[in-house]
Symmetry: C2
Subunit: 205 residues, 2 copies
Amino acid sequence: MVQSEIPNIIISRLPVYLRALRHMQGQGKQTTNSQELGEQVGVSAAQIRKDVSQFGEFGKQGTGYDIAFLVKKLSEILHIDRVWDLAVIGMGDMGHAIARYQGFADRGFRVAMLFDADPAKIGTRLGSFVIRDAAEMIPAIKQAGIQIAMLCVPASTAQAVTNQLVQAGVKAILNYSPINLSVPDGVRVQYLDPSVGLQRMTYYL
Amino acid sequence: MVQSEIPNIIISRLPVYLRALRHMQGQGKQTTNSQELGEQVGVSAAQIRKDVSQFGEFGKQGTGYDIAFLVKKLSEILHIDRVWDLAVIGMGDMGHAIARYQGFADRGFRVAMLFDADPAKIGTRLGSFVIRDAAEMIPAIKQAGIQIAMLCVPASTAQAVTNQLVQAGVKAILNYSPINLSVPDGVRVQYLDPSVGLQRMTYYL
């Protein structure tokens, strides 16, 4: 199986399936099927079956999916059967919220470093971290081999900081700034854009 | 055209197209095509054409899409050719960040009310707002006719607050808490889940 053959749109749905499956696990369920999972995530049963079958034969006709097995397989596919270190850039409200976010545990991620350019913030503690000087960002991220950054800086500096992150070897950026970022091939950006989330609902209002 | 016939998955892509189109507008572009737009958003050109054609004939063979026209049409389809008031619940780090977020302007939304249950926060100012008592949330939201809430409370209280929002007449919830919410039919939830955004990228690392 060549990874690049799987369309991006399919990959983008897998984490949503995974979250729903883990929610079912939390409720004590052991099996599910494409119909039930589809209703949870707003995707057709046929689409779920098609998406999942890209990676192998994970379900059984009639009995559906073993939830624990599918969780394990999806975690392997998404490469979160390990823990990835995150660098958080920009310690304003959003950066603080991310640094304290309780939702990373068991989902493949761990906050490892915090950076800010403000002398008043550099060197101060936040939980178990000391906020580091953004001027040291490139060597620090390089040395730690961190590949994932959460960008929480103002829109005005987001592109400049992104360029530095790329220089530091970062390959994946979760962007909280309300602007589109330009990155070279091989670097990915995901946008956590509240307006997009809201616009997905106003259609129905 | 019956709205409910358009699959949810298509609706969910439209805000992403819209953001990319507005980005192109910001760069001074006047026309685009399904190929170029698809590359920007990671969707095939055929899918873009199919999605957009659900709503009418917006492009021309050979010349593609007029960006301003498509922006206008998508905004109408998504019902953001007006401004929606938002209630923000929970004034921790995330609530603060949302209340000050600069990305809502011109995208169809305006923060209108802030609530918290903490007596130390109630009555304090944040920008042009006074943080209101969460105990007044149901009548205040009802009276203002607000249909959209941003949920920024801890996971432990998220479901209880959601139940109150539903009682208050809220129909759309953007959830920042790292848990799945149960809501009755007719109420929609979107999850702004950083782990999902990150997992969409780790596949490629």
